[in-house]
Symmetry: C2
Subunit: 402 residues, 2 copies
């Protein structure tokens, strides 16, 4: 009889993480680790992590809340010798330390990867940064929008002739964060096989480069920087491929194979299009992109988004509505999958937190929860891991070490 509890099958059960993450990049990695079953201890300075205090995060601090639930919270001032000493004790008891400070920040205080690996050679010391730990740009200051600009994302978003545009979502932070997660789990696997710890160096810029695949293809095809393509394919080599207006919104439609076009023609009940040389094949439709878009728009504009969407699904054409945030936050599919979960805070305000994209069949991740107060687990964690008594924790707190 299998008496294992479902939770014990979570992939990272038994793994303990010190999460020095701040803002989005590090904390998203910590979120994924926690949702995979690891014990994640969020470590903040005594004044709290930047995002906890950020007025700019707004929405009652939604981003902080979304990224830091399911973590224990402690404080530590590693600028103080006593703080450094406590950290050096702590790393004996943990598997992973993750941080996304500027390169060299922790080393400056004598608690960089070299010092900590010497104390615990099985430690996985995981750093996320904008540009990595080495190379000529390593010291550049980085935030999502500057990495979007540096990596080429901004230059390939927006319309031809318009200025360059950023992607709305925080893609560099989160791409960096999930690559950091993948690096940590890879290192945990290697450690099981070899006993070796690891020092990991994940750069947001590196992580975003592969998303430019189509754009780089267009660059090589045209032999130079291609113009921005708005909602069209980056190499203008697929048509239809666009966001089309409907009577009450917009839909995305893409025909990546000839069969998709035939199905769309059937859905549009315009069989004559199949015999029109303008649309004879992908090359012809791409060359005559405006005409192709016009026949599709002619069909979508007089119908509701829902009607276009349902017809496309029925006929087998890749299509989706352009959902607004309110659509997304009430999306029955995301709710059914547990990717969104409603919680209510102390002020009785409800909001949707997100779960984890990393789903194991038959394993239920923890429900997302709201973050704990700053330092709420100081006594419990320092007591358990270092044997500190309540009075010592209080002393350290009063003297600014915790």
């Amino acid at each position: 009889m299998d008496t294992r509890n479902l939770a014990s099958d979570r992939p990272l059960t038994g793994v303990t993480v010190l999460d020095f993450g701040q803002i989005y990049n590090g904390p998203y990695c910590g979120h994924l680790l926690a949702m995979a079953g690891a014990r994640v201890i969020k470590v903040e300075s005594p004044i709290g992590e930047t995002l906890r205090n950020s007025t700019a995060s707004s929405g009652e601090g939604y981003p902080f809340r979304a990224l830091n639930g399911n973590k224990e919270t402690i404080t530590l001032n590693f600028k103080r010798p006593d703080g450094q000493r406590l950290l050096k004790e702590m790393v004996r008891h943990v598997d992973v330390l993750l941080e996304n400070y500027r390169p060299g920040t922790m080393a400056k205080y004598g608690i960089g990867s070299e010092e900590l690996m010497a104390i615990n050679p099985r430690l996985i010391y995981a750093s996320g940064t904008g540009y990595g730990q080495n190379g000529p740009h390593a010291d550049y200051l980085a935030m999502d929008v500057t990495v979007q600009a540096m990596s080429g994302v901004v230059s390939v978003t927006g319309y031809e002739g318009d200025p360059p545009l950023k992607s709305g979502p925080a893609i560099c932070d989160m791409l960096g964060g999930v690559h950091l997660y993948g690096a940590i789990t890879s290192a945990l696997y290697r450690r099981e096989r070899t006993g070796l710890g690891a020092v990991l160096d994940i750069a947001m810029q590196d992580a975003v480069i592969p998303t430019l695949c189509s754009a780089i293809g267009a660059y090589y095809r045209t032999g130079g920087n291609p113009p921005r393509t708005g909602n069209h394919h980056q190499a203008r080599a697929i048509a239809p491929y666009n966001i089309y207006e409907t009577r009450d919104g917009h839909v995305a439609i893409i025909c990546i194979r000839e069969g998709h076009w035939r199905k769309l023609v059937a859905a549009m009940e315009s069989p004559d299009l199949l015999h029109d040389e303008l649309f004879a094949n992908m090359e012809a439709r791409s060359k005559n992109m405006d005409r192709t878009d016009a026949v599709v728009l002619d069909w979508t504009a007089s119908r509701s988004t829902q009607e276009v969407f349902e017809l496309c699904q029925l006929f087998g054409v890749p299509c989706s509505p352009v959902q607004t945030l309110s659509d997304v936050l009430s999306d029955r599919h995301l709710l059914a999958r547990g990717m969104l979960k409603e919680v209510t805070d102390k002020s009785n305000r409800s909001m949707m937190l997100f779960g984890t994209p990393i789903q194991f069949e038959g394993v239920r991740p923890p429900d997302p929860t709201l973050p704990r107060e700053i330092g709420q687990d100081n006594e419990a964690v320092y007591g358990e891991l270092l044997g500190l008594r309540r009075e010592s924790v209080d002393d350290y707190r009063r003297s600014g070490v915790l």
Copy 2:
């Protein structure tokens, strides 16, 4: 004396993967696995993977080349009973099978997770899809642009009053692919500890939701769908935060802390701004965003991108140039880190392939290579894993099984 060869420390050395990936999502996962040291065997139908044959991929098939080097290549027609039989033999010898077909595709041919896990209970069966294996939208057709639309990304990109806009890069495909990688490495770790295989279910839509953190924050703050914000912060709560024109291009500048603003003021040599109530703090600058932008633009517009960038770095203000693709493909930092590597094809055309964002200190990933021809490793792989002789491989090829 440590006699280990560096390569033997690659995290996934010894792991064998059957990569049924197609287009971007699955193949990017396979790319990351290969670069982490796994043996990745790309499995294509006898007519070749969609992207290998895609005229739309263009640029001499750049995306196919960028995502499928460093893999052995075999063919297998799993629609044929003999093909199914061969696959069932193969899964005895591998650790991971990854695929990104529509849900149910492999099960339809009797080679779904259930059948294959029964043969090899240690198998990690990893599926990447647009919307996941279950839930009311599981069967929707998905491509990067439709998932961008469905997940809300399109609704939060572009300018207020303009139609919704997609992000230029293929963010959903790649976010899905790297989460799939993280799920596989998590499952490998769990398998070392428990002996259990796993069935993994990674949806591109799930994977992109966390990137909307700021936008959802703005939604909760304003109590409804916020207008699109162009190059501004999603919650319009940070200023300066924009792409600014320079004499010869554009730069991104963001001041996330008060200190950044003070440093920018110093770089601009306009100390009076510190005493101007319009810009007194983050809240004031956000409220007076147009005025804030105007003073920054006034400074950037008369200078070169390089000059603005260097001054910002000197004074400690997060800033970067808006790099074009040609800038990115010759970026000295990406080259120094090995994230870009030049290769030359048989026709003597050179191009930049990308390496891996997953970097272990002291471990050198393989250099990226161009993909092998379709079925090029049939004899070697089927010979080694199943003991098939050359004649059998030839017979299977002639009869359309390989």
